[in-house]
C-alpha cells in the first residue's frame, strides 16, 4: 500500500470513527495522516474542525456530557490514561501532535441507570470524581458479578421504556450498567457523520480495557446485528470463543464488555467482521455507512418521509425546531458528502417549513447523489440478480417488510431495473435495499 493510499485510508478511518463518535480514534487517524503528509488539506481541515467544534471550553459547557465525565470509574478519564499515540513512520515525528491532556469526550455511559447528580438549575454540575488509579478494578466488591442467572433482570426495562433504577449502595462506586450500550453516542453538531449506525456496532466503545485480571461481568443486551445474520437462531449471539483471528484481549481502542456465560467467558462484541465487511466500517461515511435494513431496536428506528429507516437515534445535532440550524447542519454534511445525513436534516426542516426552498434543493441534491451512489453500487441495472441465501437463513436477517418485499421480487429472471419499476418504492429506497442485499450477500449477480 502506497503512502497516498495509506493517507486516504487513515482519513476515511477517521471519518468513520468520527461518525461513530470515536473522537479519539478519529483524531489519531487524522493526526497520523497529517504526520505522513504534513500539508494534507483534508487532514488539516478535519482536525481543525474537530478542535473547533469540540474545544475544551465547549466541552465544559456541554452539560449533556459533563456530569459523567470522569465520574464513572468504568470510564476512566483519558487524561489519566493517555491515548495511544499515533504511529508515525519510523524517524518521522507527527507534525501535529495532540496533547495527551487534551479533553476528550466520551459517550454518556450512565445517564439512564445512574442519573447525574442533581444540582440546582443553572448551577454547574458537580465536579467529576477523580479517575480511579490505573489498574483498579471497575467492579466494586459489593456488587455481585452479573451472570446468566440474573441476565433477565438486566433486560427488565420498565413499561415506560426506562431501565430499572437500581439504587446503588451508599458509598458504592457506580458500576457499568448493561444499558450503557444502548445509549446513543454523542455526535457533534453540525458534522453528524454518524450515518445511522446501529448501536450494537459501537457498543464496545465504552471504556479503556480492563486489566487482564479484571472481572467485568456485565451482561450487555445487544440489539440484533444489523449487517450479519446470526449463525443460529437464539436470543443472543452469546458464545463465540476467541479465535486466533479474534484475540481474546481486545485492542486498546476497542475494549470489550464481557459477560460470564456458563463456565466460559464470552465476548459480547459483534461477531468478527470479515475483512470485506470490515472495510465498510472504515470507509467514508457516505455510501457505505448504510443504515441497516431494519431498525435495530424499537426506539432506534427513525422513519424519514422518504421511508428511510435509520438504525440509530438522531444525533444530538442542531436543534430540531430551528430550521436555520438544521439547514446549516445540512450544508455542512453536504460538504462532507454525508448525503443521508443531509436528507435526515432537510426532512426535519421540511416538516417545519414544507416550502423551504433551500431544504427542497438540498433534498433533491442529496437524493440524486445517493441514487447515483447506490446505482453505482448496484451496477448495470439490466443485470439480473438472484437470491443466494437459503430460505432458512434469510429468515434470520434483520429486514423490514419493504426489504422483504423487494427480496420477494428477485426470482432470477427479473432485472434490477424491473425490480425498481415494480416494487413501488421510491428509487432511493429501493436502491438502498438492493445495495444492502448485495452487500450482505443475500442476493448476487452472475
Amino acid at each position: 500500500m502506497g503512502p497516498a493510499d495509506r493517507i486516504r485510508e487513515l482519513l476515511d478511518q477517521g471519518l468513520a470513527a468520527y461518525g461513530l463518535g470515536r473522537l479519539d480514534e478519529a483524531r489519531r487517524a487524522w493526526s497520523e495522516a497529517l504526520a505522513l503528509e504534513p500539508g494534507n488539506p483534508r487532514a488539516q481541515e478535519y482536525l481543525r474542525f474537530l478542535e473547533d467544534s469540540w474545544s475544551p471550553g465547549q466541552e465544559r459547557e456541554g452539560a449533556d456530557y459533563r456530569p459523567d465525565v470522569g465520574s464513572d470509574p468504568a470510564v476512566p478519564d483519558p487524561a489519566a490514561a493517555p491515548a495511544p499515540a499515533a504511529t508515525p513512520p519510523a524517524g518521522e515525528p507527527a507534525k501535529v501532535p495532540l496533547a495527551s491532556d487534551q479533553p476528550t469526550l466520551r459517550p454518556r455511559p450512565l445517564s439512564k441507570s445512574i442519573p447525574p447528580p442533581a444540582g440546582p438549575p443553572g448551577e454547574p454540575p458537580p465536579a467529576a470524581a477523580p479517575p480511579p488509579p490505573a489498574g483498579e478494578d471497575f467492579v466494586p466488591p459489593s456488587r455481585p458479578a452479573v451472570s446468566a442467572s440474573n441476565w433477565g433482570d438486566l433486560y427488565d426495562w420498565g413499561a415506560d421504556g426506562a431501565p430499572p433504577q437500581t439504587p446503588a449502595p451508599a458509598g458504592a462506586v457506580p458500576v457499568v450498567q448493561p444499558n450503557i450500550v444502548l445509549e446513543p453516542l454523542p455526535v457533534p453538531p453540525p458534522v453528524r457523520a454518524a450515518p445511522a449506525r446501529p448501536v450494537s456496532a459501537i457498543s464496545a466503545v465504552v471504556s479503556t480495557p480492563p486489566p487482564p485480571q479484571a472481572e467485568v461481568r456485565v451482561a450487555t443486551p445487544l440489539p440484533p446485528l444489523p449487517s450479519l445474520p446470526p449463525a443460529a437462531p437464539g436470543p443472543v449471539p452469546a458464545t463465540r470463543p476467541p479465535t486466533p483471528a479474534q484475540p481474546s484481549q481486545p485492542p486498546p481502542s476497542a475494549p470489550v464488555v464481557a459477560a460470564q456465560h456458563s463456565s466460559a467467558w464470552t465476548v459480547l462484541t459483534p461477531p468478527p467482521i470479515p475483512p470485506e465487511e470490515e472495510g465498510a466500517f472504515t470507509r467514508p461515511p457516505t455510501l457505505d455507512d448504510i443504515p441497516p435494513l431494519g431498525p435495530a431496536r424499537p426506539d432506534a428506528a427513525i422513519s424519514s418521509p422518504l421511508g428511510l429507516v435509520a438504525g440509530a437515534p438522531a444525533p444530538a445535532g442542531p436543534a430540531d425546531d430551528d430550521p436555520g440550524a438544521l439547514i446549516r447542519g445540512a450544508r455542512d454534511l453536504l460538504e462532507l458528502d454525508d448525503f443521508s445525513g443531509v436528507l435526515e436534516l432537510v426532512e426535519k426542516v421540511l416538516m417545519l417549513a414544507p416550502d423551504h426552498q433551500e431544504a427542497l434543493f438540498l433534498r433533491e441534491q442529496a437524493t440524486q447523489e445517493l441514487v447515483r451512489m447506490y446505482s453505482s453500487k448496484v451496477g448495470e441495472l439490466g443485470r439480473v440478480p438472484r437470491v443466494r441465501m437459503a430460505e432458512d437463513e434469510i429468515i434470520w436477517l434483520n429486514l423490514d417488510h419493504r426489504a422483504g418485499f423487494v427480496l420477494s421480487l428477485i426470482d432470477g429472471h427479473t432485472s434490477f431495473d424491473d425490480v425498481l419499476s415494480i416494487c413501488g418504492l421510491p428509487s432511493l429506497d429501493a436502491l438502498r435495499i438492493l445495495t444492502q442485499l448485495l452487500q450482505e450477500k443475500v442476493i448476487e449477480v452472475d
Partner: protein, 612 residues
C-alpha cells in the same frame, strides 16, 4: 414460408404459438414462461410494463394497472356488462367519444383495443425475439360468444400492434383444431375452458375436417382468479388470526399473499401439500416484522373452492340441455385453461361427462396452438395427403328486431351454424302507418333494449291501410364471414330497404392509424432509452473512476504545463459527459464516451506512476 403466429389473447393470460415445419410450438417469453399475463401497467417513472412485471405490481399499483380489458373490448359504455364491471375494477374507465369504453390512466385515456394492442405487441415481441426477425401476420382467438363488434375490436387491436390479423377464430374451435391436429377425428367433443377470468363450455361436431360449434355458453365472471382469491382470503384470515393484524392494510403484503396464493394453487395440482413461506411479510411496529408460514393441503383448497367447481358443472349441464344432448352423447372432453389442471376440476368433469377428459393437449397452450395450426393451414398449399380444415361457427347470440311494446323478436337463434338466413312476417301497428323503423338487436333478453343494438333503418312508402293489414317481410342473413345483413320488404309494393351490419370496435379509422403510430413511436423510444441507459452506465463508471484518480494525477502533473492542460481537458470532458447525461443526449454521450475511456486509461497509468 412465412410464419403465421397463433395468438390466444386471453382475459388473464395470453400465449403465442407457431407451426414450424408442420410441428406446432409455443414460444416462451424471456422469463421462460409460456404464457404471459394480459396486463399492462404504467409506473410512476413513465414506464409501461406488460405481462409478468405488470402482474407483480398489480396490487401495489392498482390504479395504473389494467387487466381483463378483454371484458370491455368492443362493448358499448352503456351496456349492462360494462356498467356491472365498472364497480369491480380498481382502474378508471370512462365513456369514449363514440360511446365506447376508455381506460383512464393518470391524465391519458386509452381505448380497450389500444390496451389489448399492448398485450399483442408483447406477444409479437416474444416471437420476434425468438426468431430474430419480425413476424407480422397472425390468427387471433376470441371467445365463441364474442359479437361482431368485439371481433372487430380485436382485429383493430392487432392492427394497432402492427399485426395483420388474417383470421379471428373461436377459442373452442382452436382448441378442437389442436386436439385433432395430425389425426383423423370424427367426434362430438366438449371443450371445457376454465381460464383465468372466464369459463366457457362449447360442444363441437368434428367430421371429415369440418369443425362445427353446435353450442356454446359460459360465465364471464368465473375463472382461476376466483380460486386464487379464495386461497388469498384464507391466508389473510389465518394471518390475521395468528397475529392480530390485517395484512391487507399493507399493499405489499397483499401483493405477496396474492402471488403466493396463485403459486400454491398451481403447485397443488401436482402435489398434496405446499408450504407458503412469506418472510418479513408485515411490519407490526418499528422493529417487529412478522413472517408467515403456512401449510396448505389439496383438500383444503378443494374445500375452499367446491362451489366454484360446481358452478362450472351446472353451466355444462345447461349447455348440453340447450343443445338437446346428454353427457353420454359427448365422445371426448378437451380441457382448456390453466384452472382445468386442478384435480378436483378434472374429477368433476369426468364424473359429469362419464369419461376421463383428454390429456393429449396442454390446457394453457392448446388455444394458441390451434390458432397457429389455422394460420399454418392458411399459408400452406393444399396437398392430397392433408385433409382440408373447414371451420364452421355458430351465432353466439340470438338475432332479431324490436317489436311493439319494446319486446325482442328473435329471427335467428343462438348457436345457429353460419352461414344461415331466416325470414319472418310482420305487420303495421297503427292505422295509416306509412313507415316502419327496423331496429336490429343481438342478445337473449326478451326486452329489446337489454340486448345489444346492432343497427337500425327505416322502411318508408308503405301504403296507407288499417293497422295489421300491411305485411312486411324481415330477412336476416349471416354470411360465412359472419357479416349480418337485414332487409325489410313491403310484400304488396315490393319496396325494399336493407342494411349491412358492419362491425365496429368503437374506433374510427383515423384513430386506429394514430394509435398504431403511437405504438411504433413508443417502441422506438423504448429502444433508445435502453441504449441510453447502457451508455450512461458505462459513462458514469468512467466519470467516477476519473474523479477518484484526479487528485493523484494532479500531483503527478503538478510541475508540467502539459499536465495542467491534460487535467483541464479531462475536466471539460467530464463536464460534457455529465451535461449529456442530464440532457439524456444519447448522441452527445456516445461522442464523449471514447474521450472518457482514453482519459481514464491515461489517468490510471499516471496514478500508477505516482504509486511507484
Amino acid at each position: 414460408m412465412e410464419r403465421i403466429l397463433g395468438i390466444d389473447l386471453g382475459t388473464t393470460y395470453s400465449c403465442v404459438a407457431v407451426v414450424e415445419g408442420g410441428v406446432p410450438m409455443v414460444i416462451a417469453n424471456k422469463g421462460g414462461y409460456r404464457t404471459t399475463p394480459s396486463m399492462v401497467a404504467f409506473t410512476g417513472g413513465g414506464r409501461r410494463l406488460v405481462g409478468h412485471l405488470a402482474k407483480r405490481q398489480a396490487i401495489t399499483n392498482p390504479q395504473n394497472t389494467v387487466y381483463a380489458v378483454k371484458r370491455f373490448i368492443g362493448r358499448k359504455w352503456a351496456s349492462e356488462a360494462v356498467q356491472t364491471m365498472k364497480a369491480a375494477i380498481p382502474y378508471g374507465i370512462m365513456e369514449g367519444p363514440h360511446g365506447d369504453v376508455r381506460v383512464k390512466i393518470k391524465d391519458k385515456d386509452f381505448s380497450a383495443p389500444e390496451i389489448s394492442a399492448m398485450v399483442l405487441t408483447e406477444m409479437k415481441r416474444v416471437a420476434d425475439e425468438y426468431f430474430g426477425e419480425a413476424c407480422s401476420r397472425a390468427v387471433v382467438t376470441v371467445p365463441a360468444y364474442f359479437n361482431d363488434g368485439q371481433r372487430q375490436a380485436t382485429k383493430d387491436a392487432g392492427r394497432i400492434a402492427g399485426l395483420d390479423v388474417l383470421r379471428i377464430i373461436n377459442e373452442p374451435t382452436a382448441a378442437a383444431l389442436a386436439y385433432g391436429y395430425g389425426k383423423k377425428v370424427d367426434k362430438r367433443v366438449a371443450v371445457y375452458d376454465l381460464g383465468g377470468g372466464t369459463f366457457d363450455v362449447s360442444i363441437l361436431e368434428i367430421s371429415n375436417g369440418v369443425f362445427e360449434v353446435i353450442a356454446t355458453a359460459g360465465d364471464t365472471f368465473l375463472g382461476g382468479e376466483d380460486f386464487d382469491q379464495r386461497v388469498a382470503d384464507w391466508l389473510v384470515f389465518t394471518f390475521a388470526k395468528e397475529n392480530g393484524v390485517d395484512p391487507r392494510q399493507d399493499l405489499m403484503a397483499l401483493q405477496r399473499i396474492k402471488d403466493a396464493s396463485e403459486k400454491a394453487k398451481c403447485e397443488l395440482s401436482f402435489q398434496n401439500e405446499v408450504e407458503i413461506n412469506l418472510p418479513f411479510l408485515y411490519s407490526a411496529g418499528k422493529s417487529k416484522t412478522l413472517h408467515f408460514q403456512k401449510l396448505l393441503g389439496r383438500a383444503k383448497l378443494e374445500e375452499l373452492t367446491v362451489d366454484l367447481v360446481e358452478r362450472t358443472i351446472t353451466i355444462c349441464e345447461r349447455t348440453l340441455k340447450e343443445a338437446g344432448l346428454k353427457p353420454a352423447d359427448i365422445q371426448e372432453v378437451i380441457l382448456v385453461g390453466g384452472q382445468s389442471r386442478m384435480p378436483r376440476v378434472q374429477q368433476a368433469v369426468a364424473k359429469f361427462f362419464g369419461r376421463e377428459p383428454s390429456k393429449g393437449v396442454h390446457p394453457d397452450e392448446v388455444v394458441a396452438v390451434g390458432a397457429a395450426i389455422q394460420g399454418y393451414s392458411l399459408v400452406t398449399e393444399k396437398s392430397p395427403d392433408r385433409a382440408e380444415t373447414l371451420l364452421l361457427d355458430v351465432t353466439p347470440h340470438s338475432l332479431g328486431i324490436m317489436i311493439v311494446g319494446g319486446y325482442f323478436n328473435t329471427l335467428i337463434d343462438k348457436n345457429t351454424t353460419v352461414p344461415t338466413s331466416a325470414s319472418h312476417m310482420f305487420t303495421t301497428v297503427k292505422d295509416g302507418q306509412t313507415s316502419v323503423k327496423i331496429m336490429v338487436f343481438q342478445g337473449e333478453s326478451k326486452v329489446a333494449s337489454e340486448n345489444e343494438l346492432l343497427g337500425e333503418f327505416i322502411l318508408t312508402g308503405l301504403r296507407e291501410a288499417p293497422r295489421g293489414q300491411v305485411e312486411i317481410e324481415i330477412t336476416f342473413e349471416i354470411s360465412a364471414e359472419g357479416i349480418v345483413s337485414v332487409s325489410a320488404k313491403d310484400l304488396e309494393t315490393g319496396r325494399r330497404q336493407s342494411i349491412v351490419v358492419t362491425a365496429t370496435s368503437g374506433l374510427t379509422e383515423e384513430e386506429i392509424q394514430s394509435m398504431a403510430e403511437d405504438s411504433k413511436d413508443y417502441l422506438l423510444s423504448q429502444a433508445q432509452d435502453e441504449q441510453f441507459d447502457r451508455v450512461k452506465h458505462e459513462a458514469e463508471s468512467l466519470i467516477q473512476g476519473i474523479e477518484q484518480l484526479m487528485p493523484a494525477v494532479r500531483d503527478v502533473l503538478a510541475s508540467s504545463q502539459f499536465g495542467s492542460d491534460a487535467v483541464a481537458k479531462a475536466e471539460a470532458s467530464l463536464q460534457r459527459s455529465k451535461g449529456a447525461i442530464d440532457r439524456r443526449d444519447l448522441e452527445g454521450l456516445g461522442d464523449s464516451l471514447e474521450a472518457l475511456r482514453r482519459t481514464e486509461a491515461t489517468f490510471r497509468a499516471l496514478a500508477g506512476r505516482k504509486e511507484k
